[in-house]
Amino acid sequence: MNQFLTAIVTGIGVGSVYALVAVGYAFIYRTTASFNFAQGQLLAFGSLFAYTLYMAVGLPVVLALIISVVIVGALGALVERVAIWPLARRGEDTLTWLISTLGIAILFAGAAQRIWGSRPLAVDNYIGPKVMHFGSVNIATPYVVTFVVVIAVAIAIEVFQRYTLWGRAMRAVGDNRSAVELAGINVLVLGIGAFVVGGALAGLAGFVLAPVTYAKADAGFGFVILSFAAVSIGGFSSHWGALIGGWLIGLVQSLSGTYISLNSQELVVFGMLILILMIRPQGLLTQRAGREV
């Protein structure tokens, strides 16, 4: 029983990380209909800046957090400018964006390895004890923090998209780009904005997580793939879907790690993803879109 509870709590905790990256994906997708492959690498940058600013330079944690998130958000804007905008201007389809963001992700990963080396770098716990106890279940504090943060972020996005002009425009631009343009809103700025927010969320996730995962230059791709699984299951256009997808992936991973084998975790997630996509190609929580000819 205790083993089962531990698996569940760990699953939700780890899943919250995927959820946070996935919420960033969904946010970007909703506005630009693109998948930013560099998102995982931005998460890695969040951890690496946590190491540099908090550990090496010794800034207070709040300051280090703010600077990290701002820098990673700016890197998100860089991704949009370099890898998306030149293609969007030419009218290339979104599949080519997938490839160009993949290119920049590898470039970033290589650069990070040059700067920080390829060894994992330890980051001290920011607040509270290293591990929290819920009854007989133990879980690393950063996972608890991520759990709280991801719920807060999802609510914040909901409020932003429902009640502010920019938020509504960002939602609308995914449905009808030219209508938003005609309303006098600069669509290009919206696109950058989405990448900045998405990047900042990844940076936040990386920063919070650094004490458990360590800061690693090449940590990005694993997160890209599992968070992609989360958004695919939840449906690309809904942050609530991304949230639930993230938890689901975390749970499946943790349960199969506990009851089958550690090696089987990703394989089980892959199987589940294929199964869900074959049954509902548009994701679990999205409506089927009209057919296009």
């Binding site: 080519t96 490839i99 992700a105 590898i106 990963a109």
Partner: protein
Amino acid sequence: MTASRGPWATIRSFQGPLLIALAILLVGLLVSREDYLLQGSIAISFAIAATGLGLALGLAGEYLLGQLALFAASAYVTAVLTSNYEWSFWLAAGVGTVAATAIGLAMSLVALRISKFYFALVGFFLVSLIPNIVQLFEKQTGGSAGLVIYDSINFFGTELESKGLFYLAGAALVLALLLVRNIRNSPLGIQMRRMRDSTAALSASGMQPWRVRVAVYVLSSILAGIGGACFSLLGGFLQPTQFELTYTILLFAAVLVGGSTTLVGPTLGVVILYIVPRVVIDVEGYSDMVYGGIVLLAVILFPGGIEDAFQGVRSWVTRMVARQRGEEDELQALEAALDPDSEEEFVSPDRLVKEMLEMREGLDLGQALRIEGARKQYGGVLALDFEDGDSVTVTPGKVHLLLGPNGSGKTTLLNAMCGYAPLTYGKVTIGGTDVTRRSPARIAKLGLSRSFQTPSLPDEVTPMELLTAALTYQESLSYVHWLLSDPFAWKVRRRAREHAARIADAAGLEEVADQPCSQLTSGQRRIVDVLLALSRPSSIVLLDEPAAGLSQRERKQLGATIQALAAAGLSFLVVEHDLELAMQIADEVSVLAEGHLLTHGTPEDVTNHQGVREVLIGAEA
């Protein structure tokens, strides 16, 4: 002139594989350093896989990002069978390739169901799982610790050393290039390009898009399998780290850099990306950054790859030269085309009609196409909203004209008839058979063909090739014949090519028949699209604005052709905004307005109908 593809053209189509073969021989003769030969052989085995990826990506537009997993599967199966079970290499390589193909086939089933976007990422996921899968079979594969390969390969009695292996891998690459060359030049290759640009256009020709897609995946996995089997021979050791994501990127970048739409581009790409950093300049530690930067730059700066950029420069030069010479001729031709009184150019449609009728000999032309009580809902909008008793019937031997302002549901009606957008409510029948929910390709096979409002013709393909592909399709030759380019394929293709040349000539396209479609004017593109719709054994032809963009002379010829074919028994449904032409050729007219069927009758009835005037003159002015 269009039929005369001399021996030079055939030889030219072999120049890529030939040059690669020469280069391999040359390297084999000049290089004796063991480590260089080993790196060369590894590059060659990657090049084989990249050639397959290029076929999937460039020709067919399939994002087979998971191809490295197939390569790895074949490498491991081959190595396990030779090392642990002491099979002969050839047999093991065969089984390895079959294993890769089986996985590729399974992937194609997934690809048929989910969007390209998801599929690309699923492929990436699969590659990241290679270490897990290898670990799963730890007993056989050695897991992350690796598998030592004892096998040395016995080639007709001699043990192959590093040079022998290099030649063996080289021979496999040349073989792979030849097979892909055959496919690229075959009607199947043309259909792949059509599928890449528009699945709708492909299924309108009666081809099942899924068959073409499965063929693409099988071919591409066979090449990944051959490459993987070669790879297993090299280095004497297999480990999951040899199939890291970096190598997926390497394959992908190689295809993009070399030019995904070209035959030898992917091979050149592998040489540049794999060999140059290892042998020529040492960029140890930076290779990821280099690959990433190259992928990024390639996508942004050269969407078609190096070879394409090179050809772009060449065609720009020829264009400039041609402009110097031909500007005046061109102006005259343009004036003649625009002059409505120039009668001398009018080509009688007789020859074209004769060709089209010969193709339909023995075909039952007597089927009526009927759509009744049609309703089609998109979200909350009713794009088509017929009353229950309303119907449109395309009678055999008649030209039925469909009129209506923009947005009145004309194209929706056509799409419902062809199976692209099945009706929400109502019924479509062909000769009494209910086809409301059948797939486009199956409906096309019943004898329906159509042209499109916006013709979708692959840029790099010529009208002759498109027509030839459309005509060979009727012969239903197995794909294997095209792969081997055997005498059957030759015979079928030669006959189809002669036939296509006669059709192109008769349609007045002889001048442009051998030029890539990207060079055609919009009028010529439309003529080609209409010819493609006609060049199948169909009894009912739907034409969506066939005269848009045509010159006066071309319009007259089009009208005369339609009338003559209708007189011979074919039935037509035509959507057209050129009322003068349309009313001349129409036997019956239906008018749509806001999704309703406003009226139908003879051209005279409709012209005198008050409501029609209001609807049409409001919109057509």
